[in-house]
Assembly symmetry: C2
Homo-oligomer: 491 residues x 2
């Protein structure tokens, strides 16, 4: 137990509270589900595989949106909205694309009491419908680049689902850009990958590895797919975002051309890139502990909760003080005063801890007498007394400290759970036990990649940039190694 | 022509530009379509009735979202997200609701290559699916009120569509709240109606009339529907937002109950309220003119455009000056410097005017010599010289002035086009000619309301609050008048 409290009644209360969350080392999957249900982040829909994102979960998604949207706009992108349905004929134009998504489609076959002549797919991703528009919008080099992003819902009929990580409907953003040259498209693809990596690190305190996907793992229809991969605390990897260089694959079948300055009609070069509500799942699994969520301050809907310790006699004096504190702190921070009288302070401590609130401030009559407050960190459980007049300055400092410490901790965890080697037997054993990331020399052959997956359930998460190949022979098949590859079991 | 320019070559250029927009008095509908297509606000999808909202149109929707979302949160609401599909059985629970929406539904019948056991409707509005969740989330009076809003897309299979105003898919927000008492629900319903009215007035410079809908016009499943109605410049009314007191209609069929403080199990009281992307259409039709859009400064994605007048010799000097100006103004305002060299200043003037940019700043070599800039208002066409050092202060003042003047102008237009009377023949004539709003004494009977609609295509837009009945007899049927009603032809 991280919370250091000398009060035995409170300890008992806490214990019972925490009992409702399965410990991580007993059943990680159940821990995950317990946390998101108990904190009311989501709830299951009556249709299998669907969910509602409840206000607390959605508030985290709003923070993700806010921070990413700012970065998209700073890099020159604009938002737009495209239809939720895609006519079957459009979806079939790009062969790899339709093959990749066909098994996951939901089809609208009836509209306004009439059977439709052509079924409409509910978008699983929007390349096909957007390319149809782009073919009309783009005429000249003056119309390029097109830098458009869309925030929306998509539907993919999934067989096995897990809240936030894989659901039949999810929320995401999808950027779709068009360029004059191959170089410009590749530059955009890598720029957005770096936007994701930097965002994950800076805002979510999640260290992610950037790299390229193999042919097997790339997006259906892409020329090249890049990704950012994060390591969860159960040793599994999670693909946190992807950025695709689409080349001219879609431009050619959708006939998206422009008259260049040299008077030649040319096909455009495209990219697409996206992250989804699965990032909420990543946040839970990178930082959470047996008491529930731990939110990095920059992502927390509530950064600081103030819990007054109310006794009958001193109630008004304490309330007056915390209300004043709340008003003062609200100017710069996301603060909540929990002055509900139907719950005890102990219950509130646990509830806000479970929800991952970075800092709790306690104020009771004795604290008032002494002119201080108690400040408790969610991530370490540490408590300190802070003079009332120093609270705003100390809080700012503390929140920054927590943000940094959480990133450091996640980096340490990843380091401790990343091995470099060429011992396939050791690798197999690891994938069955501690898991983690395994950086190995690889031959680059699809067959070998498939065999590894069959034997270990591990996949190549990415081929990292600028990484020396850690051996001359492929660690699995013994052929000549051509690339360094991160292997892991993944969500 | 509003723009006062002495340059005949420029005038010719302007004329040709404007030629592409049909004048309002020639064909209002065509004017509307010309404006939104020419300004690239939207484009038609390959499926009838659907559209893409292009970046310029979407930027206006983002402003609407930003301003409304702030107001929702200030009144204690939180955002959430519910599934896009509603199982048929849930939709059928509330009889009026399903009857009202059945003809407009799109049905998903196939998912992941399998025929579904139960068809799923794409949400036309989310009461049915949300009530299903609420029935599980609400147990005790402690869980109330529930104050949730959702921003999402909805689908209604419309037979005749018009961009932004009526499309088979549109974007909107839907608030769904639950309360302990009837009074609290009614208070919430009216509070959100006032939020809409005040937002329209303050931000969009659209004066709207608030009132109650008749039984015939109310939301399918509601106890009472309230609305805000705005008058377009062609004399038609447009329902700009609705707020519904749902009573216990849904609570009873979805069994949403709570244990009250008195230990009694009770049904909750509900409200729902929404506005949609049709507000973008209202903005165009309330303020636009024959040269295109006119955007109120608070809604304009670009509030000020700076157009440098570049001559070969003086190019660098002018560019340096406008770049400096842009950086200075960007601190407080949404400013764009249009320094594209492939377009002439005249072309740019027209393009930014068509897009409704509130203020244009022109800077040429002569202006630099004289130490001033030219400032042109989009709404009145007025130009003024402003000393360089006074630009930021004058701009702030001017933008506020424009915002106020646009609201005043819209109020004046509505006044001039609202008649109070009890002359049915005069009313019939008006509905065929100038249209506008007609405030008349009405009997309160559904039959009479239906007959008026058949004879004049006019509907009751709302029964305004606190308005004296302007006559003793119903202006249409001669029976005893019980209410004052606003009649109009509507979008």
């Amino acid at each position: 137990m991280e919370q250091g409290s000398g009060n035995s009644k409170k300890q008992k209360q806490n214990k019972e509270f925490v009992k409702e969350i399965t410990p991580k080392n007993v059943d990680y999957s159940q821990w995950y589900i317990d946390v998101i249900l108990k904190t009311k982040m989501m709830d299951y829909a009556p249709m299998k595989g669907f969910m509602a994102i409840r206000p607390f979960g959605f508030a985290i998604w709003e923070k993700i949106q806010e921070q990413l949207d700012r970065r998209f706009k700073d890099t020159g992108h604009e938002n737009a909205y495209f239809p939720t349905f895609i006519p079957q004929s459009l979806l079939q134009k790009e062969a790899d694309h339709v093959e990749g998504f066909a098994p996951e489609l939901a089809w609208v076959t009836k509209g306004g009491n009439e059977i439709l002549n052509e079924p409409l797919a509910v978008r699983p991703t929007s390349e096909a419908i957007i390319c149809d528009f782009y073919s009309r919008w783009i005429q000249s080099w003056r119309d390029l680049p097109v830098l458009i992003n869309q925030w929306c819902n998509v539907v993919r009929w999934e067989k096995s689902t897990r809240p936030f990580l894989r659901t039949s409907e999810f929320l995401w953003q999808e950027g779709h850009t068009c360029h004059r040259t191959e170089e410009e498209a590749e530059e955009e693809t890598l720029q957005m990958l770096e936007v994701y990596r930097e965002f994950l690190e800076t805002e979510m305190a999640i260290p992610a590895i950037a790299g390229r996907k193999t042919e097997r793992e790339k997006f259906a229809g892409a020329l090249r797919t890049y990704c950012v991969e994060a390591l969860m605390t159960d040793g599994r990897a999670l693909q946190a975002g992807t950025s695709h260089n689409l080349g001219q694959h879609f431009a050619k079948v959708f006939d998206i051309t422009f008259l260049d300055q040299d008077d030649q009609l040319k096909h455009i070069w495209q990219t697409s890139w996206g992250v989804s509500t699965r990032l909420v799942g990543a946040l839970i699994m990178v930082h959470g502990d047996d008491r529930g969520l731990i939110l990095p301050p920059r992502m927390a809907p509530t950064q600081v909760v103030i819990v007054p310790i109310l006794s009958k006699k001193e109630k008004e004096r304490v309330l007056e003080s915390v209300r004043e504190l709340e008003i003062q702190l609200k100017q710069d921070l996301r603060v909540k005063l929990d002055d509900r009288e139907e719950y005890s302070p102990g219950w509130k401590f646990n509830d806000w801890e479970m929800k991952g609130t970075p800092v709790r401030i306690e104020v009771g009559p004795k604290d008032l007498d002494k002119g201080h407050v108690v400040m408790a960190r969610r991530d370490t459980g540490e408590k300190e007394f802070v003079k009332r007049e120093e609270v705003p300055a100390r809080l700012k400092e503390l929140l920054e400290q927590i943000q940094n410490d959480m990133l450091e901790k996640a980096i340490e965890f990843r380091k401790a759970n990343t091995r470099t080697g060429d011992d396939y037997e050791e690798f197999k054993r690891l994938m069955e036990t501690e898991r983690g990331l395994y950086l190995a020399p690889w031959c680059g052959e699809d067959d070998c990649e498939g065999k590894i997956k069959d034997e270990t359930k591990a996949t190549i998460r990415c081929l990292p940039f600028d990484t020396e190949v850690p051996g001359e022979k492929c660690f699995a098949c013994g052929e000549k190694a051509v690339a360094a590859a991160y292997f892991a079991r993944a969500y």
